[in-house]
């Protein structure tokens, strides 16, 4: 049973988050990822706390299963090694500021002329084209500019950032899709291609119905809190005894089921709440009545009870609660690492489950800087250089 990307070789210049998230997905599914790092410091994320022993938890959770070689791309002997790697590689990835690769002598025109089958994937803030290409970006900048912050937060209050770096992560996901599309094209008889991903573009692509709504109506939405304005209530966060409980019962049938489950069957018949429109008109009163009933028990009680009744409901889990859910282990979404440097720890598994492909519980640790130099150089010096299909 071989992994889906068995046989694929990625030479990976990416650092920190967007690029490493992409190449970790590729490594998780069997690609060989050779991380080419700056001698001395390596990937900036190696210095980000907190720590598994002496090793960055952040770096470890984005680079498992990769190999590392330290190369200074401004030195002739290291460039020669890098170029030998490119001879064999299927994909080269980087997330430098646009122009960096050109200054190193590895711009796309040059690469494509020398390695016509090589696929080149770049992730940057604003992309390799357009008047803002050189503008600096961080996750929060593109979250602000693309609109996702403007709809996130409490209604009537200042918008907030999405708590995770969705600007970087979504770029990493679109880059993964783009590289795999370019591989498909190459396998149909094409050459290598450049995949150019901009974090800012990706933010627009995530904006779902907000942009369609704006073009259809001219309407601009502010922070939406935890409610879905287009859906009839109850659909949002309600108050159980010990905290917020999410209930998504946006149609009459689910509402009736909910009223039964909380022992208020009469509410479903009440003209104040009998239709979606009525519930929308009396949203505040509805929430008050539901909160009254829900205050009798805990979030855990209600979750179990409502889910057993077939209702979409659930808690707002903290991280510790999220990873403790039985489904997480049952889906192999926590994997084990026995790190030769710092011992055992756990990481999040891959959410891509492919039949007839391994999904090992045990994963290789993120590499120490330059740890695979010898093995990699041996690969290169091997006379029978592998010819890829």
């Amino acid at each position: 049973m071989k992994p889906a990307l068995d046989g694929l070789l990625i030479v990976d210049l990416t650092r920190v988050l967007a690029g490493p998230f992409c190449t970790m997905l590729l490594a998780d599914h069997g690609a060989r990822v050779i991380k080419v790092e700056q001698p001395g410091t390596g990937d900036d994320a190696r210095a980000y706390g907190p720590w598994f022993g002496t090793k960055s938890a952040y770096f470890s959770s984005l680079n498992r299963g990769k190999e590392s070689i330290a190369l200074d791309l401004k030195k002739a002997e290291d460039r020669a090694i890098f170029e030998q790697l490119l001879e064999q590689a299927d994909v080269l990835t980087e997330n430098f500021r646009p122009g960096t690769m050109e200054r190193l002598g590895y711009g796309w025109e040059t690469l494509h002329a020398r390695y016509p089958r090589l696929i080149y994937g770049a992730a940057s803030g604003f992309g390799h084209t357009g008047s803002s290409s050189q503008r600096r970006a961080y996750d929060m900048i593109v979250q602000g500019m693309g609109g996702i912050m403007s709809v996130t937060g409490e209604p009537g209050r200042t918008p907030v950032r999405v708590g995770v770096s969705i600007g970087d992560i979504s770029a990493g996901l679109f880059l993964t899709c783009g590289l795999l599309m370019a591989l498909f094209k190459r396998q149909q008889g094409g050459l290598g291609a450049k995949v150019d991903i901009a974090m800012f573009d990706c933010q627009l692509a995530l904006m779902e119905y907000f942009i369609g709504r704006y073009f259809a109506t001219g309407e601009v939405t502010g922070p939406v809190g935890s409610y879905r304005p287009a859906i009839a209530p109850p659909f949002g966060v309600y108050q159980a005894q010990d905290g917020g409980l999410i209930i998504a019962a946006g149609n009459d049938k689910l509402f009736a089921l909910l009223c039964q489950a909380i022992d208020r069957p009469e509410m479903a018949e009440d003209p104040l709440f009998a239709t979606g429109e009525a519930r929308k008109d009396n949203e505040g009163l509805l929430a008050q009545r539901l909160n009254d009933a829900l205050s009798a028990h805990s979030v855990r009680h209600w979750t179990e009870h409502l889910v057993a009744a077939g209702l979409p409901a659930g808690p707002i889990n903290r991280v510790d609660q999220a990873v403790a859910h039985p489904q997480v282990a049952e889906r192999n979404m926590l994997v084990d690492v026995d790190d030769p440097q710092v011992g055992h720890y756990r990481l999040v598994g891959s959410p891509i489950k492919i039949s007839d492909a391994p999904d090992p519980r045990q994963r290789r640790a993120a590499p120490a800087l330059d740890q695979d130099r010898e093995a990699i150089l041996k690969t290169l010096s091997s006379t029978s250089s592998e010819v890829r299909a």
Copy 2:
């Protein structure tokens, strides 16, 4: 110049968001996507307002470039057509509740036995395995359970939902990656495979450093607002004359540049702010001083001024402001649709830019229900059934 996925045939049973987001990406890059819909109503999203004329803006923005045929998978004659489609298809996608395909007689075992090269992609709330498989999910439920809500919102206040349906969209993205990985494997000589994506799993995969941090320290983070707790300030939202301005100047060099740019060069030397540690210790005072200086001008003024100085800075754009940014048009991130049903409108383009592949400004509209029936039936009856490589 052919699109990357030219020649690929997708038979698509997905509805609403997660699945259609995936198959739109595939269609945008040249796959032929045949949407198989319930006769009479079709995809539920066809009924979601607001409207481009008589057509759902939501549906239109997730189904452009696809074809539609209405088939009742409980009727023999329609099943025969569906099975002829599967004979030719590379990929079948669905986002029903687990078990639905089995009840229709199209579970994975059956499909794989009859169409060994067919790749089958399923997106569901909790996946096709595990004890919670049958549990109902909506975007907000998995946002709550996976932890992303717990870190989104204002510090000390109730967590909020990410404003867009990141639970669905991320599942659509991971499904796209999974299908393309399975295609790669098949092209290396393998058979079809099943790709099983759970929205809940995907939420954990987005949790970035929070889960690593928890395993490393036991520390659980609440809503983080618009700040990055691990990074030295100024890194967050500050107040210009007319609203919030994002500044990401997390190191000494950028901070000094910022002090110059706002004409407060002395702040960079002030022992209160001279190091990252000092700025962290005096975060409130720092914000006050910056806000004082920034209050002299508008967000637009400061954005232009700070970006020109090489600083990562930007506004919190509403949707109308986001789509008006020049880079959006320059990167072809707004495309035009001349819809034969309702006329012209604009949609968000694809953020995956691949060299030597078309990225047309003009896109085909989302289909009317069953509009391609005749053309699809003609394809099937064609005697020279295409043999795929």
